[in-house]
Symmetry: D3
Subunit: 246 residues, 6 copies
């Protein structure tokens, strides 16, 4: 297995979530030599494209625009991106969607999966995506699930940060130092033309999480000796296992 | 700092807790070249020495016996051990005890601290120890706390497993593979002559946690290629921080 | 917007829930000049009409009876009432039902929405209704959701009190003083002929909540100077926002 | 009612769950003269039959094998067993399945129902089964639910122990002393040829729970005077009601 | 042990708590032949005697009055009562108080202990009493705790109902049918001259809990065939252990 | 009571907490005509004055410096400030301190009390302050507590935001729009010379909470018509009570 390129997979309810919430992780893992797969269950065409609707765009135009922006952002971050076009508000979970995601996991064998938080009273697509991803991961582990690919191991799952973390019972238990790749996350965010106000918002959030990361290790300097300026917050779902305590 | 031997510190309410609950971690970190400090706040002389009381021993005899057993266990595991004799049932937290533990942390600068869980309706000394350790850690970080030693950084704290984990709201989020050192943990447990029934109990628990560890990584084989047969369960208190997601 | 009559909307799983649980709020908001909309998802024909089934009534007779009683209660309380006849035990949530409720919210733009609690192990229709209402509220906020009406703002949602509040993790964070309208709530309850034992039960509950309301402000006299004799308990879902702390 | 044989019902997501998790309760209630009904929603053919798939068995062969093993285990434990073949990974909940389970409850009027825990991030069929059983119990209480059998009372529901209890928020609040029937539970477990490693695992778990049971009553000897060697852990869902405090 | 009269012990922060919150249990256990011990840590002289202070009574007069009322109530209920006069608002927990309560438990060996809930933001004496009782119970189990009496077993602990249960995270898991003794509880409440408004309040609460008790067994008729009209709500702290599931 | 100036009271563990965490509320309530009382239990001389210790200042110099800065900040915000000098790291709660705070509450009769959150694993003085304030509030309500002032009513208590809210189980349920006074909060923060890095940090936090406040009412424009740019987050402890639902 050591010769094979390793994979992490990000499952995003709508086509921009992965940028704001895990753009740093994507760029970082790309730099570490991983294949990074981004799966967008929908384009966020109904629920997260207010300005385009106000501009009188059609559904198809909106989807196309959202797709183009996300493809560009993924390119900047170094990710492969796949759109499943399942529909949003509400997200439509079907047997077909389940088969696709289970097979995605089995084929690419991600070491880590990133997705939404399990609660989000402001956005039920997010909650549904998190539940769906956790279930697909278990289905992908079953020998008897029909698939041409071998079963999945037990990849760790991390929830990325929702917009209002406390209201979503999101309690970060892992801070990821994204200082070395923040410039690319910023560029990826800037692909979202219609959401300029969020560029600054998520830049400031990254600084805030960076400062908190430093507090949690008692130093603004990471173990590798560089300054932690920017971080992303994550919530791990399963216990860690290892020969040391981390 | 790289030349200096690194330290982990275990704070045990009574003199035998560290063996049953973290004997594997101690032996493992000893093998990794760490200095391992065990601090026993009391001997467990009143609350955890039933057989000795029934045998008619005096308080001083009981303390001496408990001390001797724990010293022997620490020796087998590779730890330095220190007894603070604060009294048990109930544990007596004083300003003096606080000064000692704060200075212990400042002098030895542990990278990791292990102690009890924050809840234990069967044993209030355990709960009190956990609260006390967490507070001493914060006090040790304060520039203005009177001490001859420099301030402490922000070492991670792990709770080790209580006797009835679910009743103590103990939810493991870190499994430590202790397969390579289990034989020494067993020997250390066997120093506790009066508690023979617990040797098997905690051996079986280690197997159970080992099996669960394997389930959580989807394999009974660890990343380093050896079989996970025995594990200890821990609960991490603070978020992890790093350049990768673990 | 100031010239337009304001609205509150109550979504009731079965046709009598709104009376026992929020009859006071309805009468009070009616008196404040609000349009009050009551939406009954079902008649409670299967699950909450035991006596009528024992009396040998048919399904259609039961629905008609329940509808008549609820219409009369709504009239007394000052509410407009709408029956969606979605079926109960279990409540059937469909795409059509979702469209109706989303459009109801968009058309009437309620300032506040009242519904069931998110947990109720004694009644899954209640839980399902609460989840459904919260999701319809979010869908109604989406520009791209097909509708002839404009998008909804962000109305506060309150859960009203379930029958066994502690078992439903219902923790009141808002007490509503209904003393001035309690007589009408009582009359509305008395429309439910078949449930005479509940008239007294919910009258006593209102007294109990009234006494607790007084305890929470340190006086049985409200800010407006009248005595708080009766209250209803509610649980607010979203943070309050304002220029003072309330 | 006193002349009629009393019933307890166990609802198992897959065909072996009832053995590992409640085999002791089944044998014990059988000895107390109860009719014990085991309802297997699926055979666990896809998700819990890894070895059979690896051996190249077909789906039908696997189902037949799983059925045969479970029938034999049920026979040893003294239970009647019924297979609903609803499919697993994921379990398919349908209107038909609901009707069957509601009628099962109405016909047999169980005094107690045993099933899975409400959370299980390692197995969504378990979670879904628990939710489904709780809802069917409520539906079975409704006069208007179409059925040839009379309504159900309010039987207590107990969750049996999941594989990783802490990760499933499983907090035991009832320990059942199964010492007198453990030999039969062991024999029933041994019917599961392909899962030999679990025989020992669940035997050790029963010992562990037995020791904890003793701790909770302050004695390894039960009220009836026998030694508690083995126990099963359960989580009660509803308050107890009685003329004494138990 | 069968020849000895069995005991239950109620620990009350203030001298009237035991009446409102567990008067039914006391009368019931008295009728069952138990010795019932009531331990009042304080008289509630500062925090729960508002009218007496307004009437200009001195501290000693208030204590005497409160004592007299509680003695009369205890007599009606059939309990022995003991006043420890530890002071209230705030309750003063001392080493001496601890010794007294530990010895009380060791001498009388209660089968069950009743006390306050672990949370009460309206009354910190209640919270402190609950914590203190739970710790004294553990201390009383220790062989090495100095005492002339033998060690305590592991009596179950029940919290009785606080004034605002939801705000105190009080979740009843045991309803006690007190219908047969309610008249005596009422008479005991009437000993509290200065709190006439509470007589009705707690009578109505008992009815409410009675109705809920009936709901939880699906019948207003108890197993012994009598009607459940009045109940008290309790929260059990430790798992039950037995040869059947209750 | 309408003629008397109304009061809000802020209880701060250390001398700067009130600025970062509730400076906006203070300025706002000052503008509303309230007397604002700030009570600093300590100067934060040991735990929150790292730079001064590094600069070689003595304990008394540090206290004087911290006092001067906080007085200036209070002046800018419009608050009266009182220093109780109880000592920090750890904060020393004594009977005398309790008497002072109880009397402070009784004399000034605050309508609202602001203080720390109930959990803070990074700062035990904060946790202890919150618990202490909640208890002093209850003691101040007792007729029998010795004091020359009349009893306190039941003022609402709000926790202000800790540094790492999610780790402190801080869940905001009230956002306060501080846009109109933010300039003064900024000036007050700038009084803290040694903590320049925090000026920007808390300015950004205010913007972030402002944006979230807007999301929770569905508009960046408040009810009074002005734009919500800055907000502070609070957690209310007790239910609201009123004649409308807020």
């Amino acid at each position: 297995m050591s010769n094979k390129q390793k994979t992490i997979t990000v499952v995003s309810a709508h086509s921009a979530d992965f940028i704001w919430r895990s753009g740093g992780a994507i760029a970082l893992y790309h730099d570490l030599g991983y294949q990074v797969r981004v799966i967008c269950l929908s384009f966020g065409e109904r629920g997260e494209s207010a300005r385009l609707w106000k501009d009188g765009k059609t559904l198809e135009e909106i989807k196309a625009k959202r797709r183009a922006e996300s493809e560009e952002a993924a390119r900047i971050l170094g990710a492969e991106i796949r759109f499943l076009d399942a529909g949003d508000y509400p997200l439509q979970i079907t047997k077909e969607l389940q088969d696709i995601v289970v097979n995605e996991f089995r084929e690419h064998q991600p070491e880590i999966i990133l997705t939404h938080s399990l609660e989000d009273p402001y956005n039920f697509d997010h909650k549904r995506t998190a539940e769906f991803v956790l279930e697909c991961r278990v289905l992908a582990q079953a020998e008897g699930y029909p698939s041409e690919h071998g079963i999945l191991g037990a990849p760790q799952v991390f929830s990325f940060e929702p917009h209002q973390p406390e209201q979503c019972d999101f309690k970060p238990n892992a801070f990821l130092d994204i200082s070395s790749v923040f410039d690319r996350k910023r560029k990826a965010m800037e692909c979202m033309n219609a959401q300029e106000h969020l560029w600054e918002y998520y830049s400031e959030l990254a600084k805030r999480r960076g400062m908190q990361a430093g507090r949690n290790i008692g130093s603004a300097i990471s173990l590798s000796g560089s300054k932690i300026t920017y971080a992303e917050a994550y919530q791990r779902h399963f216990p860690t296992v290892g020969g040391t305590l981390v």
